[in-house]
């Protein structure tokens, strides 16, 4: 599904990612953990194709294709989804209108006809129920005046609608209270399938109580310094990131 080899990336001449190797297979859930400034958000931006970053070395393959030269929208059309840590507001553009445009542009990108309005509305209703969202959501301007929890729920709602092959959830748990966290996590779990995969980027273990990962990686100073199963997350939680630092410098 996703194959990253020796990825180096920099912004304005500063190297942030210093040789990342990561392989995610269909059906898997990976967690990437790490302290602030370790390069977690850079990694998700680079995978999604943000142009501010320069890739200096390495490769990214997605569903068997080299995606390094593809635009963000082309990657999205292939089934790559990024749930933003800070979703942006677009005043005057309703959630419905935004999603309709996103879905139909993605379909166009894949050579498909636009989705009939009736089917789209039906799907929206179903997915909103899944995330316990109110109908009024659909007509609100996207992310404008949304609470932190509403923004994150809206991200997962879009993920549900776009049905990506790979979803990267960047700090989806930040800004969520415990109830919202449970709703979002159960939404994500319901979207898990054998043929799709999820990468959860998080600072804390708590989201991983709900979305249980197959593999956990620790990102530190632009490199994955440790990988393991879900128990690694628990270990990190109890020992803190200093433990990794000490281990590395030892």
């Amino acid at each position: 599904m996703l194959k990253i080899k020796n990825l180096h990336a920099s912004i304005d001449g500063t190297e942030i990612l210093k040789g990342i190797d990561l392989e995610v297979k269909p059906g898997e859930v990976h967690a990437i953990m790490g302290p602030n400034g370790s390069g977690k958000s850079t990694l998700s931006s680079v995978i999604a194709g943000r142009e501010d970053y320069e890739i200096t070395q390495g490769s990214i393959e997605f569903v068997g294709e080299d995606i390094m030269d593809l635009s963000p929208e082309e990657r999205a059309h292939m089934g790559l989804f990024l749930s933003f840590q800070y979703p942006v507001e677009i005043p005057g553009v309703s959630v419905t209108n935004f999603l309709k445009t996103a879905i139909n542009e993605s379909r166009k990108g894949r050579g498909l006809e636009p989705m009939p309005a009736k089917d789209m509305l039906k799907a929206m209703r179903e997915k909103m129920a899944l995330l316990e969202m109110d109908k009024s959501f659909m007509s609100r301007s996207i992310n404008e005046g949304f609470s932190g929890g509403e923004k994150k729920r809206n991200e997962i709602f879009q993920m549900a609608m776009l049905e990506p092959k790979l979803a990267i959830l960047d700090e989806t748990d930040s800004g969520l209270d415990i109830d919202a966290l449970r709703i979002v996590a159960s939404g994500v779990n319901k979207l898990r399938k054998k043929d799709n995969a999820i990468v959860v980027i998080t600072h804390y273990q708590r989201l991983l109580d709900h979305i249980v990962p197959d593999k956990v990686h620790v990102l530190f100073n632009g490199k994955i310094v440790k990988s393991g199963d879900k128990s690694l997350a628990l270990e990190l939680e109890s020992k803190g990131y200093d433990w990794i630092k000490e281990e590395l410098t030892a």
């Binding site: 999205a76 990024l82 677009i90 993605s106």
Partner: protein, 476 residues
Amino acid sequence: MDILKEVTNSDYKYGFYTKIDSDKAPKGLNEDIIRFISAKKEEPEWMLEWRLDAFRQWQKMAEPNWAHVKYTKPNYQDISYYSAPKKKKTLDSLDEVDPELLKTFEKLGISLDEQKRLSGVAVDVVVDSVSVKTTFREKLAEMGIIFCAISDAIKEYPELVKKYIGTVVPKSDNFFAALNSAVFTDGSFCYIPKGVKCPMELSTYFRINEAGTGQFERTLLIADEGSYVSYLEGCTAPMRDENQLHAAVVELVALDDAEIKYSTVQNWYPGDKEGKGGVFNFVTKRGICERNAKISWTQVETGSAVTWKYPSCILKGDNSIGEFYSVAVTNNYQQADTGTKMIHLGRNTKSTIISKGICAGNSEGSYRGLVKIGPRAQNARNFSECDSLLMGNACGSHTFPYIEIKNKTAKVEHEATTSKIGEDQLFYCNQRGIPTEEAIALIVNGYCKDVLNQLPMEFAVEAQKLLEVSLEGSVG
């Protein structure tokens, strides 16, 4: 930043030129030319005198230069002030319309045929200076509604024209209004009788069509007591190298309890990417509201090289309402100085101003607005919201709000914001599969929603398309 740069480079899609035979006045302006125009139009003596008086006043006036725009002042002696398609016999069907003209409309996607069939809109088509065809006139006439070329109105309804022309925008109001009063060659006249709700949207499509011809439209719209009318005005112009001067005057009269909704979509040739050519649009639009009357101006301005335009309301009658909803887009080297004046004279008068400026490329966009509350205007209310959206770093956006209050009971609110289409917004859209051009269209349409919502449905769709075309290639 490269993604943002690509959006400024599309050519004017509506740049084409229709060959229509015309007869034309020699270049220059003097009393003889005015006599020539008046004679061509077969006008009565009083109209000629009115024009000559305007011309004499104009000669004493100076071209204004207070607006935040820079341009080479036109040589008014180097313009031909009259050009008209050759007179043809009265047209009974579309078959009789000049096929060249029909082709032009097809290119614009607004063929008369389609207009008639789909939208039930009566169209008074103005190509160059003479109305070529007036549709639905008889149908409207059954209700007592008059909708015709102003030159016909001068001959057929002289009392109405004489009573109202120049009462809202006096001949000597300003340099361009005086010029227009002297030389206007056509435009529309509309009268809605007492208590009549006009059952369809009245619409005029303007075209500037003859190289080197100034265009001087004059519109006079009277809504008698308790009547209602929605009027649409839309324009596109062919691509041209030299500057084209356009100085229109629009006068609206809303008598007691009447309501006028006046919507404009303006898409004149803005000049090329280097700022060469393009239409100069110096327009005076004003309406007067009597008791309980309401005038609502909605405009989507995307064209012209230089725009100087302030659709205004004089709220003379008690409880009258004035509204101004505007989207003004400037791209490349376009300059726009536009806004409104709300003059509160009567008691309990209310006005709303929503202005959305969008600047891209090297353009300059200014909002200039006046809210004036007279001493007798007890409990007057105004709300103004002026927003600017910038694309790139080379454009400029300015706001010049003027507020004059002479009554202590007035409440005036002014809000202003400036924002930029951010890389973050674009990346967010891109990540969801929406390419940059579509993302910009989405963001801009969202930003303009409050104004677009004021437009009649089919016009709103057209306006949305126009915004997209105008901003294609504009983020940098």
